[in-house]
Amino acid sequence: MAALAAILAAFASLTLWSAQPAGAADRPDPVAEAAAFRNYFVKKFPEVKLEEFVNGPYALNGDMRRQWQEIDQFSPYEFSLEKGKELFATPFANGKTYADCFPNRGVGIRQNYPYFDASEGKVVTLELALNRCRVANGERPLSHVGDAMAALTAHMAFTSRGKPFDIKIPDDPRALEAFENGKRYFYTRRGQLNFSCATCHVQYPGEHMRAEVLAPALGILNAMPIYRSEWGGMGTISRRFTTCNSQIRSLPLEPQSEEYRDLEYYLSYLSNGLPISGPGARP
């Protein structure tokens, strides 16, 4: 019972809905939200340095961490990374390249994604931006769950390694709504297993779920895309969101659907200040 009370108290401190004074109830406060989110994890894992959260289960389990460090000396994700660099540099049929679509030629910008596009009123993720670049230049879009998109985002993440997440929520009610929408998705239970994202990644990080050690939600996207031993290859955020839904026996949404993009926006914002560590490796 003490544990349950602690969890409920933690949730209460996280969800500021209950704590807000009347009148402010309609106004989300992402800054306070992010601070509360961070404090929850820092208190839960006092021995873990803040920037270490980006390493997921490896920040919380010594045996796994050693295996990861061994493999990271010379990781099989090197091949995907090389492929990504090559793909990024390969011109489209019309002669233009990805670099022409992105600020700073696409170098060292991954930490700014997703962003809220005011002209369209929607969240734009890196994956979406890459495919838009392709379509704008007469190319077919890539599958969001395929190897090529994984390789491209791996390359872009690599050029941003060490840079802190810098997600902006403009003073625009639609941006705030997207943030809230992501938060709603994160805390809503779904699927036959009736889990929300928070069930595993807020309530039980560091614990085992069958053979997996659950990653904390803080910093959870910093290592993306990830080379998973389970996949034997590199996979995107879209791939992870869809497979995660399947694993809790919930129907996955279409990659890059509004909920997923808002979810990515929410989670990335909460990890502002933590370094990009991608591409990463996971079990």
Binding site: I71, Q73, F74, S75, P76, E78, F79, E82, G232
Partner: protein, 103 residues
Amino acid sequence: MASSIRVRAIANGETTDVQTLIQHPMDSGFVKNDKGEFIPAHFIQELTFEHDGKKVFVADWGTAVSKDPYVKFSFKGGNKGDDLKVSWIDNKGESDITTVKIQ
């Protein structure tokens, strides 16, 4: 880089430390594809490292070596700038070879 072989060979005092990572499926023959058919075994059987005309390390591998295989070893001698030749042959008779300079 067309080669499947990635090598990091570093002269470290009296020894040269070598790490290699090779892009290869290392299919064991025990895994089925989506259609339920066994994916045939396809794995590197022999991996050879040569320095100064002689073999400094030979790996004989079976199907239990992980995909995109890795191995690390050290040998005495080897100076910065020396060539290190790495070659492999798999059970299908496919092969690859590369020569790198010790750093």
